[in-house]
Subunit: 280 residues, 2 copies
């Protein structure tokens, strides 16, 4: 039983969430919405962002440092809110730490497998996530015989970070990236990078109404809630008035993070603390 | 005298060159061309690239780690082949290490100041370099009264790394970034990021023939040669046949670096060695 395998924390201990930078805030946002009682400690590795073009070895080393840092914050569970880190490091994190760890890949894969009717699923993600073939692996286990086509979209993250969410340039780049997925007639598309829900409308417009877009951020929060419920670890009362429900840590200076974060989530992030993640 | 201030190495000691990733290879290439006798040790911080969106504090910490690593390779001088690191960390590096250090900003600023006729200079670079106002500072010292206008171009690096060197999307983005510099009628434009010489033709086409493009990579190699000459540190004989003239180190896996590097410089890079830069 999973309860025996893991260290248990009080229900009101925070949930740890990490990402290579700001993208994981789309997951943070879903957890806030679906579990408004929970405290969250978020870490964004802004000094080493992005992960999506880096190797498994490097991303795993970084992820372990972050997990060690989050454990110093007495989190009751860790959410790997980054597809690349989930693809590369989840297994090693599960082996190393004694609290439950959940990534964004499995929940997204599960819903995509359930959703497809014609058996053709597309995945758009970073080079690293596509190269890892992790979505294919999970989906094939769940629904053998389904065809999965991956497409790396390295320009989407910089376009989002430049604020070109609705722009002819983003449309043009998206049309190029998505052309081959349209050609093979997929009916389900996984937005396999935490930045991509922010250009969901552009992607949806190009793919057309018949294609279901799967947002792993949403599915992960849902699965997290289910898991915490089963473990009896859901926080059943709202945090005391005046207590700090959300805390943010970053590895580079906080000001830029705070600006971007406030544009994604409608909770006034007053501060984020910079730490030296290389020490963990 | 500068000779007394610095530790001296044999003439045939290598030159250390570093960058946040692959961009500094445009500087490496100019050093190869202008000083074919020199040995070079190149370090690309591919595990933490890019620097251009990060803070002064973080870029300085990274640059110091790299300078310490390069000194373990007994380099006779260090070239900071990254505009962001030159803008943020050069002074602290000069204070910390006892061999000559040269950045790419000063040489570019010097040539721009000499080149302008109407006294209006533009600089395109990363957010960090533009935010530091370092080009303005140097140019104003050299030629007071000149007007310098900076423009951050955060999408240029990802577009170059995606291989869109000649592409309508790159044209469109460049037109947007450069519009305000055209409006104010600059006659000289500094390509203030090591990736930008790779889209020199796109930038040149948009700016028009009357605008002089300054490539700091070229100017830095020229100034390095002059400095080594004055210090009596130029290597006057070609490396022995069979000896290793160029060595490459990276902080992430070598394979991707090698592919990109071979597309920039026409020297067959057979190998690059991965090191853990966080240990320095």
């Amino acid at each position: 039983m999973i309860q025996d395998m893991v260290k248990t924390y009080p229900k009101d201990a925070p949930i740890g969430v990490f990402d290579s930078g700001v993208g994981g805030l789309t997951v943070f946002r879903e957890i806030m919405r679906q579990m408004p009682n929970e405290k969250i400690v978020y870490f964004g590795d802004t000094a080493r962002v992005p992960y999506g073009s880096k190797s498994k070895e490097t991303v795993t080393r970084y992820s372990k440092q972050i997990a060690r840092f989050l454990q110093t914050q007495n989190v009751k569970t860790i959410v790997v809110a980054c597809n690349t880190a989930s693809a590369y490091a989840l297994e090693e994190l599960e082996a190393e730490i004694d609290i439950p760890v959940i990534g964004v890949v499995k929940p997204g894969a599960k819903v995509a497998a359930e959703s497809t009717v014609n058996g053709k699923i597309g995945v758009i993600a970073t080079e690293a996530t596509i190269g890892s073939k992790i979505y294919s692996q999970y989906i094939e286990e769940l629904k053998p015989g389904v065809s999965i086509s991956g497409k790396a979209c390295p320009l989407f993250v910089p376009l989002v970070e430049e604020g070109l969410l609705q722009d002819p340039v983003t449309d043009e780049i998206a049309r190029r990236y998505l052309a081959e997925l349209i050609d093979i007639d997929i009916d389900t598309l996984i937005l396999g990078c935490t930045h991509y829900p922010l250009i969901r409308s552009t992607v949806g417009k190009i793919m057309g109404e018949k294609v279901t877009l799967v947002n792993p951020a949403y599915e992960t929060a849902r699965e997290l809630k289910e898991m915490l419920g089963k473990l009896g670890m859901l926080n059943d009362s709202a945090p005391a008035l005046g207590s700090e429900q959300y805390r943010f840590y970053v590895s580079d200076k906080a000001d830029k993070f705070i600006r971007f974060a406030n544009s994604i989530i409608k909770y006034g992030i007053l501060s984020a603390k910079q730490i030296n993640i290389e020490e963990y």
